[in-house]
């Protein structure tokens, strides 16, 4: 597994981005994300009549002078989010030249950085088998980020991955931020339940599918026996010809469409990442176009 390399210039550019959340923020601490509830931020929203018991410091005296009625000035509330990033660390993510795994880690690191710059908390989890392991635990602030992010280099890829079985038993919070699942989703194991579960918990969800260029557009032809890297018992024996390649491409489209449609139906976002493309495209084009970033 290649070592995670932090590109500081890229991180500086990413700092300009801001996460857009769809769900009402329900964080406990004040943060940088505007809540739909009224709070004590600097951003004026509305007036309302004074009710005894209200904080008199928030009475707009200028309005009282004009209208001789007590109005309270209302401001947006700003909360701190808790971004939770789940990385599929199965063997398929690291097979070949391991670029899929590298891409997954870089995406996770970048998203984590983006979160800490927005004064949010970040946790990074790995999913191996049916078990979720917290690699970075609820860090906030750049100093903690740089102190902790190196842990990603210690992640070992291998085994299988059951996303739903891993995520659902864990505490994912409620309406308090963004969940990101980074995986190749090349499995017939259940991952839909995890999406449903996270959506039900009013968390914003971003599914990042990482595929290699060979998986998207295979070059292999002729008589081949393919063995599954995660399950030696699974094999595919075929004379790869034009018809099969055509069917394969349809299968790739089907997988993408299925995840995208499933996510969209539940207010989640889906994005496909090729391991051979730079991450600029993901953050500055794909995610901004989707409205996940701005």
């Amino acid at each position: 597994m290649g070592k995670l390399v932090i590109n500081e210039a890229f991180l500086q550019r990413v700092e300009l981005l801001q996460t857009v959340l769809k769900n009402n923020i329900a964080g406990l601490f004040g943060g940088n994300h505007k809540s739909r509830t009224f709070g004590s931020s600097c951003e004026f929203v509305d007036y309302r009549n004074y009710v005894p018991g209200d904080d008199i410091t928030k009475i707009d005296w200028n309005a009282y002078a004009r209208f001789e009625t007590l109005y309270l000035k209302l401001y947006l509330d700003e909360r701190q989010l808790h971004t939770k990033i789940y990385i599929d660390v199965s063997q398929s993510m690291a097979f070949g030249d391991g670029k899929k795994g590298e891409a997954a880690l870089q995406i996770a690191a970048t998203l984590a950085y983006l979160s800490v710059t927005e004064l949010d908390k970040v946790s990074v989890f790995t999913i191996r088998g049916g078990e979720v392991t917290e690699v970075i635990s609820a860090i906030s602030g750049r100093e903690r980020y740089f102190a902790e992010i190196g842990k990603l280099n210690g992640i070992e890829f291998g085994g299988d991955c059951f996303i739903s079985e891993g995520i659902m038993p864990t505490q994912v919070g409620y309406g308090d931020g963004l969940s990101v699942i980074i995986s190749d989703f090349l499995t017939d194991n259940n991952y839909e339940n995890a999406i449903d579960y996270l959506a039900d918990k009013k968390r914003d969800l971003l599914c990042v599918q990482v595929l290699s260029s060979e998986e998207i557009n295979p070059k292999v032809r002729g008589k081949n026996i393919f063995y599954d890297s995660e399950d030696a018992g699974r094999m595919y024996r075929k004379n790869i010809n034009r018809d099969i390649i055509k069917a394969y491409r349809e299968a790739v489209r089907y997988v993408q469409d299925r995840i995208r449609d499933y996510c969209n139906a539940r207010g989640a976002e889906y994005v496909l990442v090729r391991d051979d493309k730079p991450l600029d495209g993901l953050f500055f084009e794909q995610l901004t176009q989707l409205g996940v970033m701005k």
């Binding site: 002729g222 081949n224 026996i225 063995y227 595919y236 069917a247």
Partner: protein, 629 residues
């Protein structure tokens, strides 16, 4: 269908080898990939293939097997006989002497063969070729040959002759071919300017100049032999030298004894005369010293006619009329006659004579190895004569027209009948009495009366030439007639046949070789050295066609004596020297232009099929492996 090279089918053994290789090569490449999920999922999207398309997996093998089969068949060279795909081509090739004329080292005949080969090469594959060769006779050299190479090798084996032939003699054969196939392509390849219809004329003459003797002979002047004659240059003016050479023996090469220069105008004969002081020769050669198209007609060899066989006759007679006969034999027959009386005659007297004439007397046993004349043979008729005396025939009346017989000459069509009656005027002859004989069938009747033969000639039981007179010369007025002397001359020529009657022939002529008495065998040696032993059994003469130009040697072996040789010379016929001929050659009938009557070889089609299969094989391979679209 048949195969030219059936062993080529052994190539089919490659099929099991191919299958074995295919099985061995059908190995799957194993590799581990990140996930087989997408590949397994792709099965859902794989369109159900047609049953035929299931074969595509082994299509390469099928194509390769087909290629091996096709290649094996190619090597085996199958021959399909399918009508309506090519042409029937007929050649009529002139093989006359003039086709030997040459220019720049190649003869007209060589050019004719080149033309034929060119036509064969340019013809459609599968066409059939037939060649009618007009040489000394009309022969079909090859017929219905469908292989070009075979036809060309058959053409290469042909050679022109030296006789004068007319291509019109091949018209019957050509007409038969044309009647069978009205769209047949018929070529006439000749050097003569024919006008043709339904025949494509290919004239291989290129205006070569030829010089030849137009006439030739010799005389004796001032005690020396003098070669005379005419020479002609057919196309160009020329100045030539005529050499006269001579030798004293037949086999010795002649030595030059004189020459003369002659200026020739084109196509005009010019006389020449070569005077020499040589008085004796056996062989005389006239030769034109000049470069021309045909060298063979520049030489003529003449032989001394004075050296003909000597005629010695034993005349046995006591009759008064013997004088007529004896004088006639001596004068008309140019013979040395020795007379002997019947009383003094003994069988031993006949030795050394070529002819024994028995007038009014018949010996008990006829001499052998000598010609016999039996005049009015009455007593017995002699052992071995072959004739039988029956009785005398006398006229009914003593006086008047009925007091004598008027015989008639028997004018037949055979060569011998014509020879025996040559120059006979046919004046009426009166015969008072004749003997009725039983004449063998092989005798040629010369004179008859009332169905009875009066004069006949033929071979007797001793195989010697025999002439029979059924009447005494004195019992007729025949001895007073001029026909008598002519007949005696003819009968003497019959009795003393020279082995060959002429010494100079045109090529293609038939040389008559007489079977002389006592001859054991006769061998004719051609100019090329080919020996032919003639079948002389029971024959008065044999015929030999002279197909080569040059000196023919006739060697005669007589019983009890050495061989003797005679020579004759066969010249190139004047018509061939001139390259004359031509005329109109027409094949009657309406021509159909349907050039599709031969046999078609499907080999090229096979080759194309194989190419297509191999290309398809590669195409599919590339399509599958590189997805070229």
């Amino acid at each position: 269908m048949s195969f030219y090279f059936p062993l080529g089918l052994l190539g089919l053994l490659g099929i099991p080898v191919l299958i074995l290789i295919y099985v061995i090569k059908s190995k799957y490449t194993e590799q581990t990939i990140a996930s087989t999920y997408l590949w397994e999922l792709s099965e859902k999207f794989l369109k159900k293939r047609k049953p035929v398309s299931k074969l595509t997996g082994i299509l390469t093998l099928i194509l390769q097997i087909l290629a091996v089969i096709a290649a094996s068949l190619l090597i085996a060279h199958p021959v399909f006989t399918m009508r309506n795909s090519a042409n029937d081509i007929y050649f009529i090739l002139d093989g006359s002497a003039s086709m030997n004329m040459q220019q720049d080292g190649s003869t007209r005949f060589d050019r004719a063969k080149d033309k034929i080969n060119g036509i064969i090469d340019d013809s459609l594959s599968g066409s059939s070729y037939t060649l009618v060769f007009v040489r000394d006779t009309v022969n079909v050299a090859f017929e219905g040959v469908t292989q070009k190479q075979q036809a060309k090798s058959d053409v290469a084996a042909l050679g022109a002759g030296w006789s004068a032939t007319e291509c019109s003699s091949a018209m019957n054969v050509a007409q038969e071919y044309f009647d069978n196939n009205r769209s047949a392509i018929i070529y006439l390849i000749t050097d003569k300017p024919y006008e043709t219809e339904n025949i494509t004329l290919i004239n291989v003459s290129s205006g070569e100049n030829n010089i030849a003797f137009n006439d030739y002979g010799y005389t004796f002047e001032d005690g020396g032999v003098c070669g005379t004659g005419k020479v002609i240059s057919y196309c160009e003016d020329a100045e030539i030298t005529v050499e006269l050479s001579a030798s004293d023996t037949l086999m010795a090469p002649p030595e030059k004894i004189g020459e003369t220069t002659v200026k020739l105008m084109a196509d005009e004969p010019a006389e020449f005369k070569v005077q020499t002081a040589v008085s004796h020769f056996t062989k005389l050669q006239l030769k034109i010293v000049a470069k021309d198209a045909l060298g063979e007609d520049n030489v003529v060899i003449l032989y001394d006619e004075a050296k003909a066989q000597e005629r010695k006759v034993l005349f046995v007679s006591d009759s008064k009329d013997g004088m007529y006969l004896r004088n006639a034999i001596s004068s008309a027959g140019k013979a040395q006659v020795d007379a002997v009386s019947v009383e003094k005659y003994s069988a031993s007297d006949a030795a050394g004579y070529g002819l024994c004439v028995f007038n009014g007397f018949t010996p008990a046993e006829l001499p052998k190895n000598a010609a016999i004349w039996l005049i009015d043979a009455v007593d017995g008729t002699g052992k071995g004569s072959g004739i039988k005396f029956r009785d005398y025939q006398t006229p009914k009346d003593e006086t008047g027209p009925a007091s004598y017989f008027v015989p008639e000459y028997t004018r037949g069509t055979s060569v011998q009948e014509k020879d025996l009656l040559r120059d006979i005027v046919g004046r009426e002859v009166a015969v008072r009495k004749y003997a009725k004989y039983g004449i063998p069938r092989n005798f040629t009747s010369v004179m008859k009366v009332n169905g009875d033969t009066l004069i006949a000639a033929g071979l007797n039981d001793n195989n010697d030439r025999e002439v029979v007179f059924a009447f005494a010369i004195g019992d007729s007025d025949f001895g007073l007639k001029d026909d008598f002397l002519i007949l005696v001359r003819n009968l003497m020529n019959y009795s003393f046949p020279s082995v060959i009657e002429d010494t100079v022939y045109d090529c293609g002529d038939i040389m008559k070789v007489n079977v002389v008495p006592g001859c054991e065998n006769i061998v004719v040696t051609s100019p090329s050295g080919r020996n032919t032993t003639l079948d002389t059994e029971g024959k008065a003469y044999c015929s030999v066609q002279l197909n080569e130009t040059g000196t023919y040697t006739v060697t005669v072996k007589l019983a009890g004596s050495d061989e003797s040789s005679l020579c004759s010379f066969a010249c190139v016929p004047e018509t061939e020297s001139r390259s004359q001929g031509g005329g109109t050659l027409i094949l009657s009938g309406e021509r159909e232009f349907n050039y599709s009557d031969g046999y078609y070889d499907k080999l090229p089609a096979f080759f194309i099929v194989i190419c297509v299969l191999l290309l398809a094989d590669w195409g599919i391979y590339c399509y599958e492996q590189y997805q070229l679209r």
